[in-house]
Amino acid sequence: MPRQTSTQITKFILLTTLLVVSAVSCLGQSTTGTVTMSATVSKFVEINSGGAVTLSGNSGGGVTTDGVTNSPLAVSINLGELGPSNTNSFVTAQVPLKLRSNAPYVLSMTASVSSSGTSASRIGAADVGFGLGTISRLGIGVNTTGTDTNATSGDPTLAANGSVNGTTGRYEFTAVRSNLSAFSSATTALSGPIIMNAVPRSNANGLTVPAFFAVKPQFFENGTTTISVTFIVTAP
Protein backbone atom coordinates (compact mmCIF):
# COMPACT_ATOMS: atom_id res chain seq x y z
CA MET A 1 0.00 0.00 0.00
CA PRO A 2 1.43 3.34 -0.96
CA ARG A 3 2.55 5.43 1.99
CA GLN A 4 0.28 8.37 1.01
CA THR A 5 -2.82 6.15 0.89
CA SER A 6 -2.01 4.69 4.29
CA THR A 7 -1.71 8.16 5.76
CA GLN A 8 -5.05 9.17 4.34
CA ILE A 9 -6.76 6.10 5.77
CA THR A 10 -5.21 6.82 9.15
CA LYS A 11 -6.46 10.39 9.04
CA PHE A 12 -9.90 9.18 8.05
CA ILE A 13 -10.05 6.74 10.99
CA LEU A 14 -8.81 9.42 13.34
CA LEU A 15 -11.46 11.88 12.18
CA THR A 16 -14.18 9.26 12.46
CA THR A 17 -13.11 8.43 15.99
CA LEU A 18 -13.20 12.06 16.98
CA LEU A 19 -16.70 12.39 15.59
CA VAL A 20 -17.82 9.29 17.50
CA VAL A 21 -16.32 10.62 20.71
CA SER A 22 -18.04 13.94 20.17
CA ALA A 23 -21.33 12.25 19.46
CA VAL A 24 -21.13 10.14 22.60
CA SER A 25 -20.38 13.25 24.59
CA CYS A 26 -23.34 15.10 23.14
CA LEU A 27 -25.81 12.30 23.69
CA GLY A 28 -24.38 11.26 27.02
CA GLN A 29 -25.73 11.98 30.46
CA SER A 30 -25.28 14.64 33.03
CA THR A 31 -25.50 14.41 36.79
CA THR A 32 -26.62 18.00 37.30
CA GLY A 33 -29.31 20.32 36.03
CA THR A 34 -30.04 23.96 36.68
CA VAL A 35 -33.18 25.94 37.43
CA THR A 36 -32.69 29.69 37.65
CA MET A 37 -35.49 31.89 38.87
CA SER A 38 -36.27 35.54 39.35
CA ALA A 39 -39.16 37.63 40.61
CA THR A 40 -40.01 41.30 40.58
CA VAL A 41 -41.70 43.32 43.29
CA SER A 42 -42.77 46.74 42.08
CA LYS A 43 -43.77 49.59 44.35
CA PHE A 44 -47.43 49.34 45.15
CA VAL A 45 -49.81 51.85 46.77
CA GLU A 46 -53.55 52.02 46.97
CA ILE A 47 -56.27 54.11 48.56
CA ASN A 48 -59.68 52.78 49.40
CA SER A 49 -62.62 53.71 51.54
CA GLY A 50 -62.07 53.15 55.22
CA GLY A 51 -65.77 52.88 55.93
CA ALA A 52 -68.98 54.83 56.13
CA VAL A 53 -69.11 58.63 56.05
CA THR A 54 -70.25 60.50 59.14
CA LEU A 55 -72.22 63.68 58.46
CA SER A 56 -73.10 65.93 61.37
CA GLY A 57 -74.49 69.42 61.94
CA ASN A 58 -76.35 69.31 58.68
CA SER A 59 -79.76 70.73 57.99
CA GLY A 60 -81.15 68.74 55.12
CA GLY A 61 -78.78 67.01 52.82
CA GLY A 62 -77.25 63.62 53.54
CA VAL A 63 -74.78 61.07 52.30
CA THR A 64 -75.69 60.35 48.71
CA THR A 65 -73.06 57.67 48.04
CA ASP A 66 -71.53 56.20 51.13
CA GLY A 67 -68.09 54.68 51.58
CA VAL A 68 -67.73 50.92 51.76
CA THR A 69 -64.74 49.56 53.61
CA ASN A 70 -61.96 48.34 51.29
CA SER A 71 -63.83 49.45 48.19
CA PRO A 72 -62.66 52.20 45.86
CA LEU A 73 -63.20 55.62 47.37
CA ALA A 74 -66.15 57.27 45.59
CA VAL A 75 -68.16 59.23 48.10
CA SER A 76 -70.85 61.80 47.41
CA ILE A 77 -72.22 64.06 50.14
CA ASN A 78 -74.91 66.72 50.18
CA LEU A 79 -73.97 69.09 52.99
CA GLY A 80 -77.48 70.58 53.03
CA GLU A 81 -78.23 74.12 54.08
CA LEU A 82 -75.16 76.26 54.79
CA GLY A 83 -76.96 79.57 55.32
CA PRO A 84 -77.87 81.07 58.69
CA SER A 85 -81.01 78.97 58.81
CA ASN A 86 -78.74 76.14 59.82
CA THR A 87 -78.06 77.05 63.43
CA ASN A 88 -75.40 74.43 64.04
CA SER A 89 -71.89 75.75 64.51
CA PHE A 90 -70.45 73.53 61.75
CA VAL A 91 -71.57 71.09 59.12
CA THR A 92 -68.96 68.37 59.22
CA ALA A 93 -68.33 65.35 57.03
CA GLN A 94 -65.87 62.74 58.17
CA VAL A 95 -64.62 60.45 55.38
CA PRO A 96 -62.52 57.44 56.48
CA LEU A 97 -59.59 56.64 54.17
CA LYS A 98 -57.56 53.44 54.04
CA LEU A 99 -54.05 53.38 52.58
CA ARG A 100 -51.79 50.43 51.85
CA SER A 101 -48.31 50.27 50.38
CA ASN A 102 -45.12 48.25 50.18
CA ALA A 103 -43.06 51.44 49.96
CA PRO A 104 -42.97 54.88 51.59
CA TYR A 105 -46.02 56.78 50.45
CA VAL A 106 -47.28 60.32 49.86
CA LEU A 107 -50.97 61.18 49.97
CA SER A 108 -51.75 64.35 48.09
CA MET A 109 -55.02 66.04 47.37
CA THR A 110 -56.50 68.36 44.79
CA ALA A 111 -59.70 70.31 45.47
CA SER A 112 -61.93 72.62 43.51
CA VAL A 113 -64.92 74.63 44.66
CA SER A 114 -67.41 76.22 42.30
CA SER A 115 -70.43 78.26 43.28
CA SER A 116 -73.39 79.72 41.43
CA GLY A 117 -72.85 82.91 43.40
CA THR A 118 -71.03 85.84 41.89
CA SER A 119 -70.04 88.01 44.81
CA ALA A 120 -67.23 87.74 47.32
CA SER A 121 -69.77 86.38 49.76
CA ARG A 122 -70.26 83.18 47.80
CA ILE A 123 -68.82 80.00 49.22
CA GLY A 124 -65.22 79.64 48.16
CA ALA A 125 -62.42 77.11 48.74
CA ALA A 126 -61.27 78.98 51.83
CA ASP A 127 -64.71 78.51 53.40
CA VAL A 128 -64.39 74.72 53.34
CA GLY A 129 -62.31 73.53 56.23
CA PHE A 130 -60.20 70.43 55.79
CA GLY A 131 -57.87 68.30 57.83
CA LEU A 132 -56.77 64.74 58.47
CA GLY A 133 -57.44 63.22 61.86
CA THR A 134 -55.75 60.55 63.91
CA ILE A 135 -53.64 58.12 61.87
CA SER A 136 -54.08 54.49 62.80
CA ARG A 137 -51.84 51.58 61.89
CA LEU A 138 -53.51 48.57 63.41
CA GLY A 139 -53.84 44.87 62.71
CA ILE A 140 -51.79 41.90 61.62
CA GLY A 141 -49.43 42.63 58.80
CA VAL A 142 -49.34 46.40 59.27
CA ASN A 143 -45.93 47.96 59.70
CA THR A 144 -45.85 50.02 62.88
CA THR A 145 -42.32 51.33 62.68
CA GLY A 146 -41.64 54.86 61.53
CA THR A 147 -43.74 57.99 61.76
CA ASP A 148 -46.46 59.38 59.54
CA THR A 149 -46.37 63.09 58.88
CA ASN A 150 -49.71 64.87 58.81
CA ALA A 151 -49.25 68.02 56.77
CA THR A 152 -52.66 69.33 57.74
CA SER A 153 -53.73 70.80 61.06
CA GLY A 154 -56.21 68.10 61.91
CA ASP A 155 -59.88 68.62 62.63
CA PRO A 156 -60.69 72.04 61.13
CA THR A 157 -63.44 72.66 63.67
CA LEU A 158 -60.96 72.81 66.52
CA ALA A 159 -60.81 76.27 68.05
CA ALA A 160 -57.10 76.48 67.31
CA ASN A 161 -57.68 76.01 63.61
CA GLY A 162 -60.04 78.87 62.86
CA SER A 163 -61.86 81.92 64.08
CA VAL A 164 -64.00 84.86 63.07
CA ASN A 165 -62.04 87.48 61.22
CA GLY A 166 -62.11 90.57 63.45
CA THR A 167 -62.31 92.87 60.45
CA THR A 168 -64.62 91.14 58.04
CA GLY A 169 -66.61 89.07 60.52
CA ARG A 170 -66.32 86.06 58.23
CA TYR A 171 -65.31 82.77 59.80
CA GLU A 172 -61.92 81.62 58.51
CA PHE A 173 -59.98 78.40 58.76
CA THR A 174 -56.60 79.89 59.49
CA ALA A 175 -54.28 77.02 60.43
CA VAL A 176 -51.78 75.45 58.03
CA ARG A 177 -53.51 73.56 55.22
CA SER A 178 -56.80 73.78 57.09
CA ASN A 179 -59.01 74.72 54.15
CA LEU A 180 -59.33 73.73 50.52
CA SER A 181 -57.66 76.85 49.14
CA ALA A 182 -54.38 75.20 50.10
CA PHE A 183 -55.13 72.35 47.70
CA SER A 184 -55.93 74.11 44.47
CA SER A 185 -53.15 71.98 42.97
CA ALA A 186 -51.86 68.61 44.13
CA THR A 187 -50.54 69.19 47.62
CA THR A 188 -49.22 66.73 50.15
CA ALA A 189 -51.59 66.02 53.01
CA LEU A 190 -49.90 62.97 54.53
CA SER A 191 -46.72 60.96 54.07
CA GLY A 192 -44.97 58.15 55.81
CA PRO A 193 -43.03 54.89 55.72
CA ILE A 194 -44.06 51.50 54.31
CA ILE A 195 -47.54 50.61 55.49
CA MET A 196 -47.73 46.86 54.96
CA ASN A 197 -45.38 44.06 55.85
CA ALA A 198 -45.07 41.10 53.48
CA VAL A 199 -48.64 39.86 53.60
CA PRO A 200 -51.04 39.02 50.78
CA ARG A 201 -53.47 41.53 49.38
CA SER A 202 -56.30 39.54 50.91
CA ASN A 203 -55.15 40.86 54.28
CA ALA A 204 -57.68 43.66 54.84
CA ASN A 205 -55.68 45.75 57.26
CA GLY A 206 -53.92 49.01 56.51
CA LEU A 207 -53.46 52.61 57.58
CA THR A 208 -56.71 54.40 58.29
CA VAL A 209 -57.21 58.11 58.69
CA PRO A 210 -60.36 60.26 58.71
CA ALA A 211 -60.57 63.19 56.33
CA PHE A 212 -62.58 66.04 57.85
CA PHE A 213 -64.51 68.56 55.79
CA ALA A 214 -66.30 71.40 57.56
CA VAL A 215 -68.28 74.47 56.63
CA LYS A 216 -69.38 77.15 59.07
CA PRO A 217 -72.98 78.21 58.22
CA GLN A 218 -72.89 81.92 57.49
CA PHE A 219 -74.60 84.65 55.47
CA PHE A 220 -73.11 83.27 52.26
CA GLU A 221 -74.52 84.51 49.00
CA ASN A 222 -77.37 82.21 48.16
CA GLY A 223 -76.88 79.63 45.48
CA THR A 224 -75.47 76.15 45.08
CA THR A 225 -71.90 75.07 45.51
CA THR A 226 -70.03 72.02 44.26
CA ILE A 227 -66.92 70.81 46.05
CA SER A 228 -64.75 68.22 44.35
CA VAL A 229 -61.83 66.54 46.06
CA THR A 230 -59.40 64.00 44.61
CA PHE A 231 -56.98 62.01 46.74
CA ILE A 232 -53.87 60.57 45.12
CA VAL A 233 -51.43 58.25 46.80
CA THR A 234 -47.99 57.68 45.31
CA ALA A 235 -44.73 55.94 46.15
CA PRO A 236 -42.04 58.37 45.07
Binding site: T10, V24, V41, R100, N102, A103, N197
Partner: protein, 223 residues
Protein backbone atom coordinates in the same frame (compact mmCIF):
# COMPACT_ATOMS: atom_id res chain seq x y z
CA UNK B 1 7.35 5.60 10.87
CA UNK B 2 7.46 7.44 14.22
CA UNK B 3 4.54 9.56 13.12
CA UNK B 4 2.52 6.45 12.35
CA UNK B 5 3.21 5.00 15.81
CA UNK B 6 2.20 8.24 17.40
CA UNK B 7 -0.98 8.34 15.36
CA UNK B 8 -1.95 4.79 16.31
CA UNK B 9 -1.21 5.47 19.95
CA UNK B 10 -3.40 8.55 19.87
CA UNK B 11 -6.13 6.63 18.13
CA UNK B 12 -6.01 3.88 20.76
CA UNK B 13 -6.25 6.44 23.54
CA UNK B 14 -9.27 8.06 21.96
CA UNK B 15 -11.02 4.73 21.53
CA UNK B 16 -10.33 3.83 25.15
CA UNK B 17 -11.66 7.21 26.25
CA UNK B 18 -14.78 6.68 24.23
CA UNK B 19 -15.28 3.21 25.69
CA UNK B 20 -14.71 4.51 29.21
CA UNK B 21 -17.21 7.30 28.65
CA UNK B 22 -19.72 4.82 27.34
CA UNK B 23 -19.22 2.52 30.30
CA UNK B 24 -19.81 5.31 32.84
CA UNK B 25 -22.43 7.29 31.01
CA UNK B 26 -25.52 5.33 31.91
CA UNK B 27 -24.82 5.17 35.63
CA UNK B 28 -26.62 8.35 36.69
CA UNK B 29 -28.36 11.00 34.68
CA UNK B 30 -30.67 13.96 35.14
CA UNK B 31 -32.33 15.78 32.27
CA UNK B 32 -35.34 17.73 31.22
CA UNK B 33 -38.60 15.91 31.80
CA UNK B 34 -40.54 18.00 29.33
CA UNK B 35 -41.79 21.51 28.93
CA UNK B 36 -42.27 23.42 32.21
CA UNK B 37 -45.46 25.39 32.80
CA UNK B 38 -46.42 28.54 34.70
CA UNK B 39 -49.82 29.81 35.87
CA UNK B 40 -51.00 32.89 37.73
CA UNK B 41 -48.14 35.05 36.51
CA UNK B 42 -48.17 38.68 35.45
CA UNK B 43 -45.27 39.40 33.12
CA UNK B 44 -43.87 36.00 34.02
CA UNK B 45 -42.61 33.09 31.95
CA UNK B 46 -40.76 29.81 32.11
CA UNK B 47 -38.44 28.37 29.51
CA UNK B 48 -37.09 24.87 29.17
CA UNK B 49 -36.82 22.08 26.64
CA UNK B 50 -39.68 19.78 25.74
CA UNK B 51 -37.24 17.06 24.70
CA UNK B 52 -36.59 14.64 27.57
CA UNK B 53 -33.21 13.88 26.05
CA UNK B 54 -32.02 17.43 26.57
CA UNK B 55 -30.18 18.81 29.55
CA UNK B 56 -32.12 20.28 32.46
CA UNK B 57 -31.73 24.01 31.95
CA UNK B 58 -34.81 25.92 33.06
CA UNK B 59 -35.34 29.63 33.56
CA UNK B 60 -38.29 30.69 35.68
CA UNK B 61 -39.46 34.29 35.70
CA UNK B 62 -42.18 34.62 38.29
CA UNK B 63 -42.87 38.14 37.07
CA UNK B 64 -44.70 40.64 39.23
CA UNK B 65 -45.33 39.33 42.75
CA UNK B 66 -46.43 42.53 44.45
CA UNK B 67 -50.19 43.07 44.97
CA UNK B 68 -50.21 44.36 41.40
CA UNK B 69 -50.57 40.67 40.59
CA UNK B 70 -54.09 39.95 41.75
CA UNK B 71 -53.84 36.21 41.19
CA UNK B 72 -53.84 34.16 44.37
CA UNK B 73 -50.63 32.33 43.54
CA UNK B 74 -47.97 31.93 40.86
CA UNK B 75 -47.30 28.25 40.23
CA UNK B 76 -44.51 26.68 38.21
CA UNK B 77 -44.18 22.99 37.38
CA UNK B 78 -40.80 21.75 36.15
CA UNK B 79 -40.74 18.11 34.97
CA UNK B 80 -37.38 16.45 35.60
CA UNK B 81 -36.23 13.10 34.18
CA UNK B 82 -33.86 10.68 35.91
CA UNK B 83 -31.93 7.64 34.70
CA UNK B 84 -29.68 5.23 36.56
CA UNK B 85 -28.56 1.63 36.67
CA UNK B 86 -28.04 1.73 40.43
CA UNK B 87 -29.73 3.15 43.54
CA UNK B 88 -29.77 6.93 43.33
CA UNK B 89 -30.54 10.07 45.23
CA UNK B 90 -31.43 13.54 44.00
CA UNK B 91 -30.26 16.56 45.92
CA UNK B 92 -30.82 20.28 45.45
CA UNK B 93 -28.72 23.24 46.48
CA UNK B 94 -29.63 26.90 46.27
CA UNK B 95 -27.64 30.06 45.80
CA UNK B 96 -28.84 33.63 45.78
CA UNK B 97 -31.98 35.07 47.35
CA UNK B 98 -30.18 36.73 50.24
CA UNK B 99 -32.32 39.82 50.83
CA UNK B 100 -31.29 41.61 54.02
CA UNK B 101 -34.68 43.28 54.36
CA UNK B 102 -36.95 40.80 56.12
CA UNK B 103 -39.94 42.23 54.28
CA UNK B 104 -38.37 41.56 50.88
CA UNK B 105 -38.72 38.22 49.11
CA UNK B 106 -37.09 35.43 51.10
CA UNK B 107 -36.38 31.76 50.35
CA UNK B 108 -39.27 30.89 52.67
CA UNK B 109 -41.63 32.81 50.39
CA UNK B 110 -41.15 30.37 47.51
CA UNK B 111 -42.89 27.10 48.17
CA UNK B 112 -41.11 24.04 46.81
CA UNK B 113 -42.34 20.48 46.65
CA UNK B 114 -42.18 17.31 44.58
CA UNK B 115 -45.07 15.48 43.02
CA UNK B 116 -45.90 12.71 40.57
CA UNK B 117 -42.88 10.42 40.50
CA UNK B 118 -43.66 8.31 37.47
CA UNK B 119 -42.22 6.16 34.72
CA UNK B 120 -40.68 8.03 31.85
CA UNK B 121 -41.61 5.14 29.59
CA UNK B 122 -41.36 1.44 28.93
CA UNK B 123 -37.63 1.25 29.50
CA UNK B 124 -37.97 2.48 33.06
CA UNK B 125 -37.12 -0.11 35.68
CA UNK B 126 -39.99 -1.25 37.87
CA UNK B 127 -38.61 -2.51 41.17
CA UNK B 128 -40.65 -4.56 43.58
CA UNK B 129 -38.43 -4.45 46.63
CA UNK B 130 -37.92 -0.72 47.01
CA UNK B 131 -39.88 2.41 46.27
CA UNK B 132 -38.96 5.90 45.20
CA UNK B 133 -39.16 8.09 48.27
CA UNK B 134 -39.76 11.83 48.30
CA UNK B 135 -37.92 12.99 51.36
CA UNK B 136 -39.69 14.95 54.06
CA UNK B 137 -40.94 17.69 53.97
CA UNK B 138 -40.98 17.96 50.18
CA UNK B 139 -43.81 15.56 49.36
CA UNK B 140 -46.47 18.19 48.70
CA UNK B 141 -47.85 20.63 46.19
CA UNK B 142 -46.96 24.02 47.71
CA UNK B 143 -49.75 25.74 45.83
CA UNK B 144 -52.27 23.78 47.88
CA UNK B 145 -50.44 23.69 51.21
CA UNK B 146 -49.90 27.43 51.48
CA UNK B 147 -51.28 28.91 54.70
CA UNK B 148 -51.28 32.34 56.32
CA UNK B 149 -49.03 32.40 59.37
CA UNK B 150 -49.75 34.28 62.60
CA UNK B 151 -47.84 37.30 61.30
CA UNK B 152 -50.02 37.42 58.20
CA UNK B 153 -47.33 36.17 55.82
CA UNK B 154 -47.92 33.13 53.64
CA UNK B 155 -45.97 30.02 54.58
CA UNK B 156 -45.56 26.62 52.95
CA UNK B 157 -45.12 23.05 54.14
CA UNK B 158 -41.79 23.13 52.35
CA UNK B 159 -40.02 25.98 50.66
CA UNK B 160 -36.63 26.95 49.32
CA UNK B 161 -35.75 27.73 52.93
CA UNK B 162 -36.05 24.00 53.59
CA UNK B 163 -32.86 23.53 51.57
CA UNK B 164 -29.77 23.56 53.73
CA UNK B 165 -26.74 23.00 51.54
CA UNK B 166 -27.16 20.10 49.12
CA UNK B 167 -30.38 18.58 50.41
CA UNK B 168 -31.62 15.16 49.38
CA UNK B 169 -35.18 15.39 48.12
CA UNK B 170 -35.68 12.03 46.43
CA UNK B 171 -34.07 8.58 46.46
CA UNK B 172 -34.80 5.07 45.34
CA UNK B 173 -33.70 1.98 43.44
CA UNK B 174 -32.31 1.83 39.91
CA UNK B 175 -34.35 3.68 37.35
CA UNK B 176 -33.45 2.22 33.97
CA UNK B 177 -33.73 -1.22 32.43
CA UNK B 178 -31.05 -0.77 29.84
CA UNK B 179 -27.47 0.34 29.85
CA UNK B 180 -27.60 2.59 26.88
CA UNK B 181 -24.72 4.93 26.44
CA UNK B 182 -27.03 7.73 25.56
CA UNK B 183 -30.27 9.16 26.85
CA UNK B 184 -33.40 7.58 25.54
CA UNK B 185 -36.89 8.89 25.72
CA UNK B 186 -38.28 6.09 27.87
CA UNK B 187 -35.44 4.73 29.97
CA UNK B 188 -36.08 6.16 33.42
CA UNK B 189 -38.42 8.05 35.67
CA UNK B 190 -39.58 11.61 35.98
CA UNK B 191 -41.07 13.83 38.66
CA UNK B 192 -42.50 17.32 38.94
CA UNK B 193 -40.64 19.99 40.87
CA UNK B 194 -43.39 22.42 41.91
CA UNK B 195 -42.74 26.03 42.89
CA UNK B 196 -45.35 28.42 44.29
CA UNK B 197 -45.15 32.10 45.13
CA UNK B 198 -48.03 34.09 46.59
CA UNK B 199 -48.06 37.78 45.60
CA UNK B 200 -47.72 39.88 48.73
CA UNK B 201 -46.73 43.32 49.99
CA UNK B 202 -43.05 42.42 49.68
CA UNK B 203 -40.56 45.25 49.83
CA UNK B 204 -39.88 46.40 46.29
CA UNK B 205 -36.96 44.95 44.36
CA UNK B 206 -35.81 42.19 42.05
CA UNK B 207 -34.71 38.85 43.47
CA UNK B 208 -33.08 35.85 41.87
CA UNK B 209 -31.89 32.39 42.81
CA UNK B 210 -30.26 29.39 41.21
CA UNK B 211 -31.11 25.80 42.05
CA UNK B 212 -28.80 22.96 41.10
CA UNK B 213 -30.39 19.52 40.94
CA UNK B 214 -27.86 16.67 41.24
CA UNK B 215 -28.18 12.92 40.98
CA UNK B 216 -25.67 10.69 42.75
CA UNK B 217 -25.38 7.12 44.06
CA UNK B 218 -27.99 6.67 46.76
CA UNK B 219 -28.47 4.44 49.80
CA UNK B 220 -28.94 0.76 49.28
CA UNK B 221 -32.31 0.10 47.66
CA UNK B 222 -32.69 -3.41 46.23
CA UNK B 223 -34.71 -3.73 43.14
Amino acid sequence: MRLRHFTYSLLTCLILLAVAHTANAQALDISSGGLPTITGAVNGSVSGNANVQSDLIVTVTFGEVSPLNTNSIVKVIVPIALRSNQPYQVSVSISGLNNANAEALQASDIGFGLQNVRLLGGAGQICSQSTHVIRSPFNNDPSTTATVAANGRVSYTSSLASLSGPTVILSGPELSKNNSAKRQSTDGYMFDAVFALTPQFFAAGVSSATLIFSISPGPNAPC
